[in-house]
Chain length 318, copies 2
């Protein structure tokens, strides 16, 4: 973040034609974007949405309401423009791309051992890193991967402790028996990968998945490029949490787009110390909640960068 | 609302490429818009934002942090494109217009008698009615009027009872003494206009203001035209409440855009039985919170009308 730009943006905010503080959280958001873009008058008209897709060996444990084939089917749907994230990207003027990561080669079943080798997690991180457009004004990193709410729950349990039951949720819609299988899988994964638990990036390798590692890579790259990030739901935030636990301040350039209906998300956001912009009961993934929040951030920045000052408009400032 | 269109929209929602319910409240919003637009695949690419401005005799009581001249100054700012609502309207593709209602002739001080004559309130209602573009896909009715949080508090106290202190708030930023003067003004207004209290439209005349009556007229017109409305904050909702109390169901075509930071808004939304889409601490008026919520509604409709079905996309539906 750029201190002088932030100070200039804060000063500008104080003389815009509105009562002090009347735009509420929008004012802080705009100043925060200004600090990352290094300019008093930031812009968000070139958002990037990138969706990473991966498959998970743990789906063999009956932990999803949908078959693993749906990951590839949904990638085709993204490419054809038919998914929710396509519509939301278009609605908010975002460039959207999809990266499928070795869908025909799922991660190993993490109830039996590490999900990925070192080479695999590094390749996934690199895919995410390279997917970021350095000219983007803001980044949404989304995901698709049948089974990945179980993966995210395992990451949270590994990073923050707590019962498996507290981190697993209904995902795409599992029943009570499915929910119990998810908790069993998380417990087994933590037991077999106990050696990873002290190291957040080892946690990502052993208990994560390719699309989660790719999101982490993209979010880390965005920080270096000074690109603000809108975090999506439980899975995106679980990937981001590996960064936050590895490097303090690693998510200073990120805002929580929304509170997902997925069970563990609220506790995870509390751990990340992020207050979501929206709370509308979404639990789709694909970056959809973050993309919806693009409009809020764009509105905040439009006001900040476009409004007249009291002096310019000839309005009495109280 | 159109029952067959709603049923078709609901059926369509059930076969779109997402787990059932995964778009949360967006799904209900899109179906609701469909029911008002009378089509299975609604559109929101032509929003209308109209801002009504009025002045209030009660400002002589020292109830605002800003002088009454600011109303006209802000109208000029709206016309020049410098206000927050200009930026938000542009960000979400809305046509925006401003209607100043007799700014050089404030309403009468309602602590001394009725704010408006019958002719005056009818003229204001008509201004609002005529301001609606019948081809708009969705309507935001906003306001500007120094002193009008006191007016809105008086309307709420008159319609719903309760202490004046419970309905007044900081508005543009009054101090404790100003807040006490607001409560005093509301109490005096209710006492001197006691004869109006049984009739919501008499309440609007005696305790309202021109811009509030115009918003009520616009919202009523939109209902007849089948145009969904996004309600803004405390003042807009107070005007709308006069309709809701006069005619049950009068706000069925309206959704609450946001929860304002202004003190009485939460209780007012509860009375209207509306759950806000956003809660970001805004308290600016001008239709700004509703305009910000345009993006949410546009996102909901974009998903609903643009997504592929499971059959179209060749995706397994679980």
């Amino acid at each position: 973040p750029n201190g002088p730009a932030e100070a200039r943006a804060r000063a500008r905010n104080g003389v815009l034609t509105k009562p002090p503080g009347a735009l509420g959280r929008l004012e802080d958001l705009a100043i925060w974007v200004a600090s990352w873009q290094g300019t008093e008058t930031p812009r968000l008209d070139a958002p990037q949405v990138v969706i990473f897709a991966g498959n998970h060996g743990v789906t063999a444990r009956g932990i999803s309401a949908f078959p693993a084939e749906v990951t590839a089917q949904m990638v085709a749907n993204f490419e054809a423009g038919g998914a929710a994230i396509n519509q939301l990207s278009q609605a908010f003027g975002a460039q959207m791309t999809v990266q499928a990561l070795d869908l025909d080669r799922p991660t190993a079943d993490f109830t039996q051992g590490p999900a990925m080798t070192e080479a695999e997690v590094v390749a996934a991180l690199a895919t995410g890193w390279q997917a970021v457009d350095p000219t983007a004004h803001v980044l949404v990193a989304g995901e698709m991967g049948i089974g990945n709410t179980t993966v995210a729950a395992a990451l949270c349990a590994a990073l923050y402790g707590g019962d498996a039951e507290g981190w697993v949720g209904r995902g795409t819609g599992v029943d009570d028996a499915g929910l119990a299988r998810k908790a069993d899988a998380v417990r087994a994964a933590l037991a077999v990968n106990a050696g990873a638990l002290g190291d957040p990036l080892e946690v990502l390798r052993c208990l994560g998945g390719r699309e989660l590692a790719a999101m982490a890579g993209a979010i880390a790259r965005a920080r270096g490029e000074g690109i603000p990030v809108i975090l999506d739901g439980f899975i995106c935030c679980a990937a981001a949490a590996c960064l936050a636990e590895a490097v303090p301040g690693a998510l200073d350039h990120a805002v929580a787009g929304h509170l997902s209906a997925e069970g563990g998300h609220e506790a995870l956001l509390a751990r990340l110390d992020k207050t979501p912009l929206l709370s509308l009961g979404l639990r789709l993934g694909e970056g959809s909640g973050a993309a919806l929040a693009l409009g809020i951030l764009q509105g905040a920045v439009a006001c900040h960068s476009g409004m007249a000052t009291f002096a310019e408009a000839g309005v009495s400032d109280g």
